[in-house]
């Protein structure tokens, strides 16, 4: 079933993303665990979209202010997940190599989350019984 294949594929990429993140912390030449703070942003990123889908059921109108606000905040969370490692590297709390690994992890994880929304959350009848 396509649902299971997509699920396995997405979880694989999620694991790859988290591997990059842990590599940025745990490799011998890096050694500091500051990059794990982006996990906070990973967890936070789907929440505005969930809230807006729950609150409004008129998904057939072209403009939906609640959904657009959710996209705005989600973009902000994604930008923050990219901004934090850059700031950490700029003040030499982490090295630039670790920063690069965290950015790679960000890209993979956010594409995974986007993939989840496209594959499992899309459509007008978003419900919690998609599984």
């Amino acid at each position: 079933m396509a649902g299971i294949k997509a699920l396995v594929g997405l979880s694989f990429f999620g694991a790859i993303g988290l591997t990059f993140l842990l590599l940025s912390c745990a490799l011998d030449q890096y050694g500091v665990y500051w990059p794990l703070f982006v996990l906070f942003f990973y967890v936070l990123s789907p929440i505005p979209t969930f809230i807006s889908r729950r609150l409004s059921d008129d998904s057939d109108v072209a403009s939906n202010a609640c959904r657009e606000l959710a996209y705005f905040f989600t973009t902000g969370i994604v930008v923050s997940a990219f901004g934090l490692p850059i700031i950490l590297a700029r003040v030499a709390l982490i090295q630039w190599g670790a920063c690069g690994l965290v950015m790679a992890s960000n890209a993979v994880i956010f594409f995974t989350i986007l993939g989840f929304f496209l594959v499992f959350g899309g459509g007008d009848d978003f419900s919690w019984e998609q599984w």
Binding site: T74, T75, V79, R90
Partner: protein
């Protein structure tokens, strides 16, 4: 049922792809996913995402400057006010809808049409004011006194410029039409 329909479309699409494989560029299609939205409906999404990128990039620029130069002498902490006012202006501008100001929305809202216009007016004045203030801070606070480190001034300017343009994109980049 939605999944089976999209599976059917996917199979058709694969067969068609095999037929047109002779020119490999012909089989490249953009926007090939199963979501059936056109660019009209995408406009609001793109505007929201663009505004989010601009707004939050502005804030991360000032966070970067604040983290690099934490002492008061290089980066006077009162300069943060400019970005805060710009954010307040962003919220004010986007709190009222264009329809409410024009008078053609369904409900009057708490403050009515005139109240909406006054609110929008004040919001835009704060937005323009904070943009001008950021330029003043850059030139008056950093360039003219020939400070050794100019980066905080540039950061304040770019923060406010990004927040301002993010506000504009969020306000005017989205359409409020109920039907396209």
């Amino acid at each position: 049922m939605h999944m089976e329909q999209s599976m059917g479309v996917h199979n058709e699409h694969q067969k068609e792809k095999l037929r047109t494989m002779s020119g490999f560029l012909e089989s490249i299609r953009c926007g090939d996913c199963e979501c059936n939205v056109d660019w009209g409906e995408r406009r609001n999404t793109i505007a929201s995402i663009g505004a989010g990128v601009l707004f939050f990039t502005g804030w991360w620029i000032i966070i970067d400057a604040a983290v690099k130069y934490p002492d008061e002498a290089t980066f006077h902490h009162a300069y943060h006010t400019c970005g805060v006012i710009a954010t307040v202006a962003f919220l004010m501008i986007n709190a009222v809808s264009n329809g409410q100001v024009r008078g053609d929305s369904y409900s009057e809202g708490c403050i009515g049409q005139t109240g909406g216009r006054v609110w929008l007016f004040i919001g835009f004045m704060l937005a323009f004011g904070s943009l001008i203030a950021s330029m003043w801070i850059l030139f008056g606070g950093f360039v003219v006194p020939k400070k050794p480190v100019v980066y905080p001034g540039i950061a304040v300017f770019f923060q406010n410029a990004f927040i301002f343009f993010g506000g504009l994109v969020f306000k005017f980049g989205r359409t409020e039409d109920l039907w396209q």
